[in-house]
C-alpha cells in the first residue's frame, strides 16, 4: 500500500484538518511534557476506576465529539445555503453527512448521557461506586478508542460515505470498496462493547447497591430512567453487534448476507439495523426525560407530579420501542398488513409520551418556578419536543410516510426530537450538576445568552426544513435548486446561531472556571431533593461517609428537614474501595490496533492484536487485587475539611 493511499489526499479542507490535528496533538504533548503532567495524567485519569472521573472523561469526550459533529453540520449547511454551491463536492458531502449522523448519535449523545449517569446514579442511590468499577473503566476506554478509530477515518484511509444507516447494498464491498465503511463498522463495534458493558454494570449497580430503605419505587426518576435505558441497552446492543459483524464478514470475508449475489438480502440489514436503531433512539431519549424530570421538580420546588405514572410510562415506552422498527422503512413495501401493524404500534408510543408531557406540566402548575439555566433548557424542551412528537405521528402513518420518506420533513422531525430531547437535556444536566462535578456553578448570565441563542437558532434552522421537505427537497442531496433557496438560507443562518451558542457555552465554561464563586455547600442550588446533593463538594472518593436510611422519594429533602447529613461520626467504618488499574486502558488500546488492522484488512496483524486482547483478559483473570480500605481517621479528616467543621 502506497502512503498516498493510506492518507487521504487532494482535499484542501482535509489538509486543514490534518494540520489542525497535528497542531493540537503536539500542543497537548508539549504541555504535558513541559508541565511534567504525564504521571498525573496516568495516575489520576488513565488508570482511574472512580465513577466520577470516568463520567467527567465521558462528558469531555462527548463535548469534543459535539464540536466535531457540529463542524460537520455547519459545513453541510454552508454547502446548502446557496443553489449550486461548490464548497464541498458530492463525495465529501456524503462523507460529512455520514460522520455527522454517526458521531452525534453514537459518540456524542450516548456518551454524554452515560457520562451523566456515571456521575449521578451512584450518588442518587447512595452507592460508593459502580458494581464493577474495573468494567466501568473498560467501557469508557472502549468508547474512547472506538470514537478515535472512527474519527481518524477522515485523514487516514477515507471516511465512510454510505450514511449513518449504512444501507446495503450501497455499503457493501461491491459498491463501497476500501477502508471507509470498515471504519464505521469497527468503530461502532469497539464502542458497542463498552455500551453493553455499561448497561449491565448500571443494572447491577441499581439492583444491588441502593441505600437501605430505597425500594425501587423510591428511586429518583433519573435513576429509574437510567435503569430502563440499561435494560434497553442489554437487549438492543447485541442486535447491532451481530448486524455489524455480519456486514464486516460480508465485506472482508466475502459472505453473502446483504449482497446482491448469492441470493443475499440487502434489506435484511435495514431490518437488523432498525431493530437496534429504534430502541437506540429511546436509549438517548429516556435518560433525557429523567434529567428534565429532576430539573423541573427541583426548580418548580415541588414533588414530581405523578411519579408512578412517570415510571410506568418509561417502562411502557421501553417495551414499545422494540415493536416499531419497521416504520423506518415502510417504503420497503413489506405490504399493507405489515405496515399497518407497525403504524399502530408507532402511534401507541405517543400515549405514554403524552402522559409524561402532562406530568411535567402538572408539576409546573401553580409552582414557584426558579428560572435558572437548566430550568430554561427544560422549559424550552416541552413545546419544542411536542412539535417533533406530533410530526412523528404524521410520519408514523404508513400511507402518508410514502410522501415524507427521505425528505427534509423527516430530517427536521428527528432533529426536533433529538435536539430538544437529548441535546437540551445534556445542556440542562451538565449545567444542573456542574457544581457537583467541578465545585463551582456555570455563569448564569452567559449561560442564558447561550441558551436563547441556541433555542432561537434551533427553530430558525429546523422549522423551515419541514416546509422544504413538503416542497420535495430530498434528504442527502448535495446541491439545491433555486426554488429552495430562501428557506435553506434561513436554515443555514439558524445553524450558525447554534454554532455561536455552542462557542458561548464553551466560553462560559472557561469564564466560570476563572471567576465563578467556589461551592462550599454540597447543595449548590439550595433546592436539592435527591441524595446526590447530600454529599459534600468536592465529592470524596468514597461518596458517602455513612450511607443514609431512605424513607421517601425525595430522600435529601427529608434529611434536610431532619437535620441529618451523610457524615454520622458515631457510625464510621473503614470503607472498601477498588484500586486504580491501567489494564482497561491497555486492553482497549490493543483492541484499537486490532480493529485498525482489520479496517485495512491486514488479517495477520488483526489476529495478533486480538490475541493480545485475549492475553489481557487472561491476565485479568489471574488478578486477585482486592482493593484497599480507607480508614476511619482519614474519612473524618476529609469530611471535616469538606464540611468546614
Amino acid at each position: 500500500m502506497q502512503l498516498d493511499e493510506f492518507f487521504v489526499t487532494g482535499e484542501p479542507l482535509i489538509y486543514g484538518g490534518m494540520v489542525a490535528i497535528a497542531l493540537v496533538t503536539s500542543a497537548i504533548l508539549f504541555i504535558l511534557t513541559y508541565f511534567k503532567k504525564w504521571g498525573w495524567l496516568w495516575r489520576e485519569w488513565l488508570t482511574t476506576v472512580d465513577h466520577k472521573k470516568i463520567g467527567i472523561m465521558y462528558i469531555l469526550s462527548a463535548l469534543a465529539m459535539l464540536f466535531r459533529g457540529g463542524a460537520d453540520a455547519l459545513m453541510m449547511r454552508t454547502q446548502l445555503a446557496f443553489p449550486n454551491m461548490q464548497f464541498l463536492n458530492a463525495q465529501h458531502y456524503d462523507e460529512i453527512f455520514t460522520t455527522h449522523g454517526t458521531v452525534m448519535i453514537i459518540f456524542m449523545a450516548m456518551p454524554f448521557l452515560i457520562g451523566l449517569m456515571n456521575i449521578i446514579v451512584p450518588l442518587q442511590i447512595g452507592a460508593r461506586d459502580f458494581a464493577f468499577p474495573f468494567v466501568n473503566a473498560l467501557s469508557f476506554w472502549s468508547f474512547f478508542f472506538g470514537a478515535m478509530l472512527f474519527n481518524i477515518s477522515f485523514v487516514i484511509g477515507g471516511a465512510p460515505d454510505a450514511g449513518w444507516t449504512s444501507y446495503t447494498p450501497l455499503a457493501g464491498a461491491a459498491m463501497s470498496p476500501g477502508p471507509g465503511q470498515n471504519f464505521y463498522l469497527m468503530g461502532l463495534q469497539l464502542s458497542g462493547i463498552g455500551t453493553l458493558a455499561t448497561g449491565i454494570n448500571l443494572m447491577v449497580t441499581i439492583l444491588k447497591m441502593r441505600a437501605p430503605g430505597m425500594t425501587l419505587f423510591k428511586m429518583p426518576i433519573f435513576t429509574w430512567s437510567t435503569f430502563i435505558t440499561s435494560f434497553i441497552i442489554v437487549f438492543a446492543f447485541p442486535i447491532l453487534t451481530v448486524a455489524l459483524a455480519l456486514m464486516t464478514i460480508d465485506r472482508i470475508f466475502g459472505s453473502q448476507f446483504f449482497t446482491l449475489t448469492g441470493e443475499g438480502m440487502p434489506m435484511m440489514w435495514a431490518n437488523l439495523f432498525w431493530m437496534w436503531g429504534h430502541p437506540e433512539v429511546y436509549i438517548v431519549i429516556l435518560p433525557a426525560f429523567g434529567i428534565f424530570s429532576e430539573v423541573i421538580a427541583t426548580f418548580a420546588r415541588k414533588r414530581l407530579f405523578g411519579y408512578n405514572a412517570m415510571v410506568w410510562s418509561i417502562i411502557l415506552i421501553a417495551g414499545l420501542s422494540f415493536l416499531v422498527w419497521v416504520h423506518h422503512f415502510f417504503t420497503m413495501g413489506a405490504g399493507a398488513f405489515v405496515n399497518s401493524v407497525f403504524s399502530i404500534t408507532t402511534m401507541l408510543i405517543a400515549v405514554p409520551t403524552g402522559v409524561k408531557i402532562f406530568n411535567w406540566l402538572a408539576t409546573l402548575y401553580k409552582s414557584r418556578i426558579v428560572l435558572t439555566v437548566p430550568m430554561l433548557w427544560s422549559l424550552a424542551f416541552i413545546p419544542s419536543f411536542v412539535i417533533g412528537g406530533v410530526t412523528g405521528v404524521m410520519l408514523g402513518m404508513a400511507a402518508t410516510d410514502y410522501q415524507y420518506h427521505n425528505t427534509y420533513f423527516l430530517v427536521s422531525h428527528f432533529h426536533y426530537v433529538l435536539i430538544p430531547g437529548t441535546v437540551f437535556a445534556c445542556f440542562a444536566g451538565l449545567v444542573y450538576w456542574y457544581p457537583k462535578m467541578f465545585g463551582h456553578k456555570l455563569n448564569e448570565r452567559i449561560g442564558k445568552w447561550s441558551f436563547w441563542l441556541f433555542l432561537i437558532g434551533f427553530h430558525v434552522c429546523f422549522f423551515p426544513q419541514y416546509f422544504l421537505g413538503l416542497d420535495g427537497m430530498a434528504r442527502r442531496i448535495f446541491t439545491i435548486t433555486p426554488e429552495w433557496f430562501t428557506l435553506n438560507f434561513i436554515s443555514t443562518m439558524g445553524a450558525f446561531m447554534m454554532g455561536l451558542a455552542f462557542a458561548i457555552f464553551v466560553y462560559c465554561i472557561y469564564y466560570s472556571y476563572r471567576y465563578s464563586e467556589r461551592e462550599i455547600s454540597g447543595d449548590a442550588w439550595g433546592y436539592g431533593r435527591t441524595l446526590e446533593w447530600a454529599t459534600p463538594t468536592p465529592i470524596p472518593a468514597y461518596n458517602f461517609a455513612t450511607v443514609p436510611q431512605v424513607n421517601t422519594h425525595d430522600a435529601f429533602l427529608e434529611m434536610k428537614e431532619k437535620g441529618k447529613t451523610t457524615f454520622d461520626e458515631e457510625n464510621l467504618e473503614p470503607i472498601h474501595m477498588p484500586n486504580n488499574t491501567g489494564k482497561p486502558f491497555i486492553m482497549m488500546g490493543i483492541l484499537f490496533f486490532a480493529s485498525f488492522f482489520l479496517v485495512f484488512e491486514w488479517i495477520t496483524l488483526a489476529v495478533i492484536g486480538l490475541i493480545g486482547g485475549l492475553v489481557m483478559m487472561i491476565i485479568r483473570s489471574f488478578d486477585y487485587d482486592d482493593g484497599h480500605h480507607i480508614e476511619v481517621d482519614e474519612i473524618k479528616r476529609t469530611e471535616r475539611a469538606a464540611r468546614g467543621l
Binding site: A131, F132, V204, P238, L246, Q256, T261, M268, L272
Partner: protein
C-alpha cells in the same frame, strides 16, 4: 471482602461482590440470548437461499449431529455434577468433573470442525450463498463460544489448583458453569431449528 461476608448459603453467594457477579452474569446471558436470537432470525430469513450451492437436506447427516448433541448434553450434565461436588466441598471431584466437561467440549468441537470441512468440500462454503453464510456464522459463533468456554475453564482449573475453594474461586466456577449450560441451551435450538428443520424441509 471481610465486611461483606455473609455466613449462610452456598459459598459462591457469600460475598456481596459474588452476588453482584452472578446477577451481572445473568444479565449478560440475557444479552447473549438477544445476540443469538439475531443470528437465528438472520438464518430463518435467509432459509432456502442456497443459490447454486447444495441444499442443507443433501448435506446434513443425522448421525453426526446426534453425536454432537449427546456430547454437549453430557458435558452440561457433567458440569452440573461438578457444581454439585463444589457445593459438597470436594475440590478433587470438582476438578475431575470439570476436566471431563472440557474433554467432551473438545470432542464436540472436533466433530464441528470435521463437519464444516466436509460441507466446504461439498461446495457449501460461507461464500457460496446467503443461506450458507448464515449457517456458518450461527453455528460458528456457537463454536467460538464453546472454544472460549474451554479456555475459561482451563484458567479456572489453574486457579483452583493454586488457591483451592474460596468464596472468590467458587464464584468464578459457578459463573463458568452458567455459561456452559447456556451454550447447551443455544445448541438445543441450533440442533432443532437448523439441523432438524433443515433435514425435514
Amino acid at each position: 471482602m471481610s465486611e461483606n461476608q455473609l455466613n449462610a448459603g452456598p459459598l459462591e453467594y457469600r460475598t456481596h461482590e459474588g452476588q453482584m457477579n452472578i446477577t451481572g452474569f445473568w444479565i449478560f446471558l440475557a444479552a447473549e440470548i438477544a445476540l443469538f436470537a439475531t443470528l437465528f432470525a438472520t438464518y430463518a430469513v435467509l432459509f432456502g437461499r442456497t443459490a447454486d450451492a447444495p441444499s442443507p437436506g443433501e448435506l446434513f447427516q443425522p448421525g453426526i449431529v446426534l453425536v454432537m448433541t449427546f456430547l454437549l448434553l453430557t458435558s452440561s450434565f457433567t458440569c452440573g455434577v461438578a457444581i454439585h461436588n463444589m457445593r459438597e466441598g470436594t475440590v478433587k471431584g470438582l476438578i475431575t468433573w470439570l476436566i471431563i466437561t472440557i474433554v467432551l467440549g473438545l470432542a464436540f468441537l472436533g466433530f464441528e470442525i470435521y463437519e464444516f470441512v466436509h460441507y466446504s468440500h461439498e461446495g457449501a462454503t460461507m461464500q457460496s450463498s446467503s443461506y450458507w453464510s448464515a449457517f456458518y456464522v450461527l453455528a460458528g459463533t456457537h463454536g467460538v463460544h464453546v472454544t472460549l468456554g474451554i479456555g475459561w475453564v482451563i484458567l479456572l482449573l489453574i486457579q483452583l489448583k493454586q488457591r483451592g475453594l474460596t468464596a472468590v474461586t467458587s464464584n468464578k466456577v459457578f459463573i463458568v458453569s452458567l455459561y456452559w449450560h447456556f451454550l447447551d441451551v443455544i445448541w438445543i435450538f441450533i440442533f432443532t431449528s437448523v439441523y432438524l428443520i433443515g433435514m425435514v424441509v
